[in-house]
Each structure stands twice: as structure tokens, then as C-alpha cells.
């Protein structure tokens, strides 16, 4: 593999405190918690951030749509400007160029607004125009059929947008839910993760693949997709060509599952909580899973025989994926690094494994997710359900939910816009077989645990 380093400096050496402003995870925490604190301050002073957290309302005719647009045009422009300012600060700090980011982000915002409006058309569900799926398909068409200049990529920060959205999602979930459902999420996710990893790893070894590649593939299928693959690749000293193989396979299956899991869940009439739990257990990447979970949750209240609420799908998904799987990536990396040093490369040198990587690789946005949940839980505590629905929800929760939906839509659209199938590495048949074996076991075991073993539990989670 030849390293392409045109115009790049080569070394990134953040240390100590620099981590706090050089990583997207921390920026998702700062921005997410900043928005939540601002929303709380406005709420406590008897006001709301709802003016700037504008979102389309339901519409049925073109004249209603035009009326909404003309009435709220200034608010949409203000929201765009706020996002540009905040995100430009982020990209400047992490070392990218705002000049390249801004036009690209305007493109993302305009397309996202169109998708958001289409999703609020009262006939949207009749034509299956679920916003996450529309965003993904539109992005895929633009990037793979129409084509785009490469410089536009600067604004397609899938991971940053999804992490920001997850921190904001934390603010809409009661902390008691995380405490109550967290242990079950961890138990369920751990069973599936360990079994899936072992299936992929031993199938890969059986097919004669390198141990490190087997571990990188196993982590991608079992823990948290591409992020787990690159974390484990660094921990076990993978060959340079190993991560792209795992990346291609994760993307391939993750995109199939964005469509397949909601479709199968719908066919089986799973409740939204159960469907979300299954997606959280069996999807690979956070953004892909959220697209599937939000899409499935969107089917609630559509007279399709699907019980539950949209929030239950997102809550059960996030608990399983973020608390049950993502949080443990540092432990996986440490354990596999230890195996690599003590078993796989015993004779090569006297390398040591640093225990600090459990923290260094910890997805820090989870801290923001939990803190946001604690903050709003404390503020909301003491309100009756009637007060919550009448006062708290419209003034505090609804604007945060609106901003969260914007962030998720940016992310879903960016998945499509960055997926260029012809540019992905050719994985090869043996890695494909090994990974696919894990995918099959994962999806079956995920279904059994989410629906049969813990189905009652996930169907009844309380999200307010």
C-alpha cells in the first residue's frame, strides 16, 4: 500500500489537554452540552430556544408549504448561520479549513431541509418517504451516479454530526432510563458481541487469514463497525491494508441493514422498542443504526400495527449501541493488544501494552450523552406528566429534539454522499465469507435476545 500524503503534514501529536479540542468526540460534547445548557437557561427564565431551533410542521398542500417557508425564512437562515459559526469553529480547531467546509455545509443544510420538509408532508408515509432513508438514497444517488467535486467532502462529517445528535438525544432521555435499562443493554450487547467476534475471528483463521486481519474484521462486526476496526487495527499493529478491507465490508452490510432491519421488523410487526433494540444489537455503525432506528420509529402511529413510539425505537437502539457496545471499545482494544503481544508476536520483540488505551480510545461523546441526560432529568424532576407535556416538552425538549433531528439528517445524508462504492477497497472472498458468517449469527442472535428473551423489556421502556 502506497501512502498518499499530498499536501499533508504527516504528524498529529496532540497531548494532554489538546485532546479536548483536537477530537470530534470532545467537540460533540462541548457543542451538545452548550446547546442543552442554553436551552435550560432559556427554559428557567420562562423563555425557549424554539425560535432558532426551527423545524418544518406537518403540511398537506403546496400553499401550506409556501406559507411555512415565507413565515419562517429568517429563522431557517438564522439556524444555518448558527450551525456555520459553530461548526466552523470545530473544523478550525481539529485542523480543517473552514473555507472548504462552509460551502459544502450549506449544500448539506439545503438538502437536509428539503428532506426534513418532505418527511413532514402528510402523504410521506404513504410513499415510504422516511427522512433517514430518503437522505441516504439521495446521497447515494448524488455521489455514485451524478458525481461531485472532491472538495465538497469537507462538509460531510458523518461521525461528528451523529455524535452531536447523540449528545442531544441524551438530553431527551431520562437518566433513570439509562440506569434502569443500561445493565440489560450491556448484558445483551456483550453476549452478541463476544459470540459474533469469535465467529468472525475463527472463521477467518480457518480460511487462512492473518490473525490481525481476523481481529480487525471481528471487531468491525461485533463492536462498533468501522470505528472498532480502526481502533483494534492500531492496537494489534495491523498491516496497512487490513483496515480498508474491514471498512468495505462494514459499509456493505451496514447499508443493506439500514433498509433490511426496519423492513423485516415491520413485516414481523415488532414494537418500536423491540425493533430499536434489534437494530442496536445487529447494526454495525452508530450513524447507520440510527438511520434504521429512526426510520422504524417513524412508522409508529401510522396504523401499520406497530406498537410503541418513535422515541422508544431511538431509546432502545441508543442504549444497546452506545451503552452496550460503543462504550467497551477501549476494553476490546486493550484485550486484543494484550493477546497480540503475549500470544501472536511472542518472539518478535518485547512490546508492552499500555493500559491507558482503555481511556484513550473511549468514545468521549458518551460522556456528553450521559451528562445531558442527567442535566435535563434534574431540571424536569418534580413535574407531573401533565406539566411535562404542557410546559417542559414544548419549551425545553421539543427544541432540543428539533436540533437533534437536524444533526441526524446531516449525518444520514453525509453517509450517502461519502459512500462511493467504486472507491472502496476490494475485500476479497475470504474476508467476505468470514465477516458474513458473523453477520448471520449476529442478526439471528440479536433477534432472539431482543424479541424473545428481552422483548417484553424493550417494548415497555419509558422515555419521558
Amino acid at each position: 500500500m502506497t501512502i498518499d500524503k499530498t499536501g499533508l503534514t504527516g504528524i498529529d501529536k496532540p497531548n494532554g489537554w489538546q485532546e479536548f479540542w483536537s477530537k470530534e468526540d470532545w467537540w460533540a460534547v462541548w457543542l451538545g452540552l452548550g446547546i442543552v445548557l442554553l436551552a435550560i437557561l432559556f427554559y428557567l427564565s420562562g423563555s425557549s430556544i424554539s425560535w432558532i431551533a426551527v423545524a418544518p410542521a406537518k403540511w398537506s398542500t403546496i400553499s401550506q408549504l409556501a406559507s411555512q417557508l415565507s413565515t419562517n425564512a429568517v429563522r431557517y437562515l438564522a439556524l444555518l448561520l448558527a450551525f456555520i459559526i459553530l461548526f466552523s469553529i470545530v473544523v478550525s480547531f481539529i485542523g480543517q479549513k473552514p473555507g472548504a467546509f462552509i460551502p459544502s455545509f450549506i449544500f448539506v443544510f439545503v438538502l437536509s431541509a428539503i428532506i426534513y420538509f418532505v418527511g413532514n408532508w402528510d402523504q410521506a408515509s404513504r410513499y415510504n418517504l422516511e427522512p433517514p432513508l430518503v437522505a441516504l438514497i439521495l446521497g447515494l444517488i448524488i455521489s455514485n451516479i451524478i458525481g461531485m467535486p472532491r472538495w465538497l467532502d469537507a462538509g460531510f462529517r458523518v461521525e461528528f454530526y451523529i455524535k452531536l445528535g447523540i449528545v442531544l438525544l441524551g438530553a431527551t432521555l431520562p437518566f433513570t432510563l439509562i440506569i434502569w435499562a443500561g445493565p440489560v443493554a450491556i448484558l445483551q450487547a456483550s453476549i452478541v458481541s463476544v459470540v459474533t467476534f469469535l465467529v468472525i475471528f475463527f472463521t477467518a483463521r480457518r480460511l487462512g487469514l492473518d490473525k490481525r486481519l481476523a481481529a480487525v474484521l471481528g471487531a468491525g462486526g461485533a463492536v462498533c463497525g468501522v470505528s472498532a476496526s480502526i481502533a483494534v487495527a492500531g492496537a494489534v499493529r495491523a498491516k496497512k491494508e487490513h483496515p480498508p478491507i474491514a471498512i468495505s465490508l462494514v459499509i456493505f452490510w451496514a447499508i443493506i441493514f439500514i433498509f433490511a432491519l426496519p423492513l423485516v421488523s415491520r413485516t414481523l410487526h415488532l414494537s418500536t422498542g423491540t425493533g430499536g433494540a434489534w437494530i442496536g444489537t445487529s447494526e454495525f455503525a452508530d450513524a447507520a443504526g440510527l438511520a434504521a432506528a429512526q426510520s422504524y420509529g417513524g412508522l409508529a402511529d401510522k396504523n401499520l400495527g406497530i406498537a410503541g413510539t418513535a422515541d422508544q425505537a431511538l431509546a432502545s437502539y441508543t442504549l444497546i449501541k452506545v451503552i452496550g457496545r460503543d462504550m467497551w471499545i477501549g476494553i476490546w482494544s486493550f484485550a486484543l493488544a494484550l493477546i497480540a503481544v503475549t500470544v501472536w508476536e511472542r518472539s518478535e520483540n518485547n512490546s508492552k501494552v499500555q493500559v491507558g488505551q482503555i481511556w484513550w480510545r473511549f468514545p468521549k461523546f458518551i460522556i456528553g450523552f450521559i451528562v445531558a441526560s442527567i442535566l435535563t432529568t434534574v431540571i424536569v424532576h418534580g413535574n407531573t406528566l401533565a406539566d411535562y407535556n404542557k410546559l417542559v416538552k414544548p419549551a425545553l425538549i421539543a427544541p432540543i429534539t428539533s436540533l437533534r433531528t437536524w444533526a441526524f439528517t446531516f449525518s444520514f445524508l453525509s453517509i450517502g454522499l461519502t459512500t462511493r462504492f467504486r472507491e472502496l477497497a476490494n475485500a476479497g472472498i475470504r474476508p467476505f465469507i468470514a465477516f458474513t458468517a458473523g453477520v448471520i449469527v449476529n442478526v439471528i442472535l440479536g433477534y432472539i435476545l431482543s424479541v424473545i428473551v428481552f422483548g417484553h423489556y424493550w417494548s415497555n421502556i419509558v422515555t419521558h
Partner: protein, 77 residues
């Protein structure tokens, strides 16, 4: 036990991050791992400071070390 001898709290010796063969600019990693940005990022915490070793042709931690270490400062002298 041998396994405990393989664990350390911090690397006090020469680390890959100071080696002439090591490169870990996030933009470089995103450029060389096609599809990485579709569902992850080189700016994510999970990557820590991992990067490319152009000597061994590996992807590894900046906090790693090996007998092939050549100080970046040595080259600049």
C-alpha cells in the same frame, strides 16, 4: 504471571510518535483508508493517535515502540 509483565502504565522510552517512519495526520489517514469517513472518522477518540509505520508497513499506535526506532529529531539535526 507473564501476561502482567506485558502491561505497562505508560511508555517512558522512545515512542513511534517521535519516529521518522511514523505518520498519523488524521487527514492523511482519511485519504489512505477509502470509506473511513462514511461511518467513522480519523478525528474520533477511538483512533487515539494511531498512524502508519512506513518502515514495517503497519498501522499502529503512536505510543508503540520497536527496535527500528529512528528519532525524528536526529533527522532534523
Amino acid at each position: 504471571m507473564k501476561i502482567f509483565n506485558s502491561i505497562q502504565l505508560g511508555n517512558t522510552g522512545p515512542a513511534c510518535s517521535d519516529c521518522i517512519h511514523f505518520e498519523n495526520d488524521p487527514a492523511l489517514i482519511e485519504k489512505n483508508f477509502p470509506g473511513l469517513t462514511v461511518m467513522s472518522s480519523a478525528f474520533a477518540s477511538v483512533r487515539d493517535q494511531d498512524g502508519f509505520c512506513n518502515f514495517h508497513q503497519l498501522y499502529l499506535s503512536a505510543r508503540d515502540s520497536c527496535p527500528g526506532f529512528v528519532s525524528r529529531n536526529k533527522k532534523n539535526r
